[in-house]
Symmetry: D2
Subunit: 244 residues, 4 copies
C-alpha cells in the first residue's frame, strides 16, 4: 500500500464487482476512497478490507438519482481530500421485448444509468474545475454502442450516457479534465454470471470469455495515469476469447 | 391529390416545418393524417390547408410525455383508419455549458426528445403489429451521432432515441415493421434560422446550406415506399453545401 | 419506357444482379446506359433486353483496374450524352483466415473493390464537374462497416472504398455532385446464393432474408432523385427479416 | 534499464518520433528491439542511444511493401529472441483534391499505410501463433475514422488498415494474440509540425495541442501489459486541448 495521498477518488455505483475492484486499486495507490451505493451498509466489508490493507475508504448511502444526494456525496468527498477522480459505474441491464417495456422500467433504467451519470459528471466537474483538473470516467457497455433487440430501455440509457461523456470531454478537456468512457464488452466473472451461463448453455462458461473485475480496474488506473497530452476518451475492454 | 386511402399516418411533433411538410406530403398521397402537438389549435391552419387541397387531417392536442395521451392519440388515429406510418418528430435543441445544464433541463429535454419517442414507438408497434405491418420513423439530428460541447442534454436524448430506434428495428423488422432513423444534419430553412445565422455571422446564410422542409418530407415518403426486402434503417440528410 | 433523355448513366461493374437491375431501372427513365464489365460480351443479353423495352444501352469491355480503360469508358459515355450518374458496383467478396490470405489476394481484392472505385470516382468527378453536377454512387457491403474474422482482404478494400466516398462527398457536395455510399447488408436473391445457403444450412433460405436486385436498384434511383438540399450520403439496405 | 528479456519487439516504421519513442520505451523494459525503416542507417543514432542506456536494438533496412523483406525482418527478429510484440507504424499523410490525386499517389499511400500493414500483421501472426501469443499493434490516425475532404488516398489506406486490425483481432484474440488499433487524433510535437502550424496560423501552436512521442509510446506499453481477460482493441489518443 502506497503512502496516503491528500487526494480522493469517488465512485458512484460501488457495486460488488467492478466498483469494488476500482476502489481497491486506487486505495492501493494511496487515495482516499469515497464509495457510494444505495445502501451504504453493503460496503462495510469492502471498507474494512481496504482499511485492513492500510488504505482509507468511506461508505456513503446515496440515491444517485437525487441531485442533492449526489452533490452532498461529492462535496463530502472533496471536503475530505480534494477530488482527483470521479467514477460513474451504475448499470441497469434489463432486456424486454418492446411491448413489455413499461414506461416505469424505461424511466427507471434511464434515471439510474444516464440521469444519475449526468448528475455525477456535472457535480464532479464543479469540484475538479475548482481543483484545477482531474478525471471523470463513465462505465459503458456493449449496449452503449448498439441497440440490440430487447434493449430499448438499457441501450437508450447507455447511449445517452455516452453522449454526456462526449459532450463533457469536448468541453472540459481544454480545462484539464480528462473525461473517458470505457466500453465493457463482455460479462464479468461472478458466481451469478457463471450460473446464468451454465443454465443457459448447459455448460460452464468457455475459457477466456469472462473478465476479472481486477483487470477492468487496472484499465481505470492506467487511464487516470495518462499524461495530459495523450488522453484516451474511449476504449473497449473484452477478454481474449470474446466474439464481437 | 390522390384518392383517399383507408389508412392513416400519425405524426407526434407536427411542428411548423418538418412535421407540417411530412403531413402535407402524405396527405397528398391520400392518407388520413393525424397530427399531434402540445397545443393542437396551432394546427388549425395546416388542417385547413390540407382540407382545401382535398386531403384529410385531424389535429390533436397531445402532451407526448404522457403515456395515456400518446396511447389515446394513436388509438384515435387507428380507429379512424388503420395506422400505416407513425412519425416521431419532436426536437428539443438546447445548448448549455455542462455546469449550467440544470437537472430540470436535462430531464425535460430527455422527456420530450427520447422518452416521448419511446412511448410513441411502443404504442405505434402495438397497432402496427395488429395491423400486420407498417412503418415507424424517428427524426434524428447531428446530435444523434456526436456529443458536441454544450450538448450534454440534447445529444444524450438524441443518442437515447437512436438506441430505441435500433432496438425496435432489430426486434420488429422480422414482424414486418419498418423502423427507421433519419439524421437531419443541417438547419432547416425558416425565417427564424435565417435570422439567427444572419445575427451570428453578419451575413445571410450561404447558398446550399439550408434544407427545405418539403425536401426532408420527400425522404420520409420514399422510405415508407421501400419494398420490404430492401429497407433502410438509417440515413443522413444534408444540403449540398453543408460542411460535415 | 420514358422518352429518351440526352443524359447518360455509367455503371462500372454491371454484373448479373445489382448492376443489371440498376441499368434496367435507369434505362426505364430514359437514360442512355453505358455498362462496363471485364468481358463486355456478357452484357449482350442485357443490352438486347433494354433495347427491346425501348431503352438504350451500350456494353463496354473494361478492366476497371486500368486508369486508361476507366477514363476511356467514361469519356465514351460522356461523349454519347452528358453523364449524370456514375455507379461503382464491383464487389470481390472473399473470406480467408489471415495466414491463408496471400498478398496476391489482398492486392487483387483491393484493386477491384477499392482502387478501381477511386479511379471511377475521380474520372466521374472530372466529367460531372464539367457538366455542372451529377451523382456518384458507390456500392458498399456489411464489410464496409465491420472487419469480421476472415475478412481482412475484403473488409480492408470496402473500408477503403467508403473513405474514398466520404472524402469525395465532402469535397464535391458544394460543387453540386452528390456522392453516396449504399451499404448492402444482406445477400441478394440469386440461384447461386440460394444454393449456397441450402448447402450450408440444409434448408432453403428463410423468408425475408434475401434482397431482390430490383429493390436495391430502386434505392439508387430514389437517391439520384433527391433534391440537392436534402442529399443522403450513406444508407443501409437489408430485408425485413435480416438479423443485424 | 530493466534486465534483458529473452523476448523481442519489432517495429515496422521506426520513424523519428512515435516509432523511436516506442523503441525506447520497450528497450527500457528489457526487450530486444528490432527496428525497420526504409533506410536502416537512419536508425544508427537511436540504436546507439538505446545501447548507451543499457538496452539492445538492431536496425534493419526494410522496404515494408515487399513481402519477402517483411518476412525476413520478422524472421530475423524472432530468431534473435521470440517476438512478443510487433508494431506497425508507417504513416503516409497526404492531402490532395480528388482531381489531383494521381493513381500513383493513391497506390503508393495504400502500399505504405495499408498493404505493408497487412504484410506485417500476417507475418507477425505467424510467429506469435507459434510462440503461443503476443501483441500486434497498428498506429491509426484521425483519417482512420473519417474521410475528410482531400483525404481520399490517405483515409482510404487508413480505413483499410483499420479493417485489417479488426479482422485480425476477431480471428486471433481467441488464439491469445492481442490486436489493437491506436487512433492518434492530433499532431505530434516536432520541430516540423511547430513550424508548419506557425506558418499556417502566424502563431506558435496553442498550448495543449501537440502530443509528445513519449506519451504515445506509454500507451503502447500499457496496452501490451493488459491482462488477457481485459484487452482493448481500439483507443483514441489526443492532447487535453485538442478540439474534436
Amino acid at each position: 500500500m502506497a503512502e496516503q495521498l491528500k487526494a480522493s477518488v469517488a465512485i458512484v455505483g460501488a457495486g460488488d464487482f467492478i466498483g469494488s475492484a476500482i476502489a481497491r486499486r486506487f486505495a492501493r495507490e494511496g487515495y482516499q476512497l469515497h464509495l457510494a451505493r444505495r445502501d451504504g451498509t453493503k460496503l462495510d466489508g469492502l471498507v474494512a478490507e481496504i482499511a485492513a490493507a492500510g488504505g482509507a475508504a468511506t461508505a456513503h448511502s446515496v440515491d444517485a438519482r437525487s441531485e442533492e444526494a449526489v452533490a452532498a456525496f461529492l462535496q463530502a468527498a472533496n471536503d475530505d481530500a480534494p477530488l482527483e477522480l470521479v467514477v460513474f459505474n451504475i448499470g441497469a441491464n434489463v432486456n424486454f421485448p418492446i411491448l413489455e417495456t413499461t414506461e416505469r422500467v424505461f424511466r427507471k433504467v434511464w434515471e439510474m444509468a444516464c440521469y444519475a451519470g449526468f448528475l455525477t459528471g456535472r457535480e464532479a466537474a464543479r469540484h475538479l474545475l475548482a481543483n484545477g483538473g482531474g478525471s471523470i470516467f463513465f462505465t459503458g457497455a456493449t449496449a452503449s454502442m448498439r441497440g440490440g433487440a430487447g434493449y430499448a430501455a438499457f441501450a437508450s440509457a447507455k447511449f445517452g450516457l455516452r453522449a454526456v461523456a462526449q459532450a463533457m470531454a469536448r468541453e472540459l478537456g481544454p480545462k484539464n479534465i480528462h473525461v473517458a468512457h470505457l466500453v465493457i464488452d463482455s460479462a464479468v466473472d461472478t458466481a451469478w454470471v457463471r450460473e446464468r451461463i451454465t443454465q443457459a448453455t448447459g455448460a460452464a462458461p468457455p475459457a477466456d470469455r469472462l473478465m476479472e473485475p481486477e483487470s477492468i480496474a487496472e484499465a481505470y488506473w492506467q487511464l487516470h495515469r495518462q499524461p495530459r497530452d495523450a488522453w484516451t476518451h474511449e476504449l473497449d475492454l473484452r477478454p481474449a476469447g470474446e466474439p464481437w
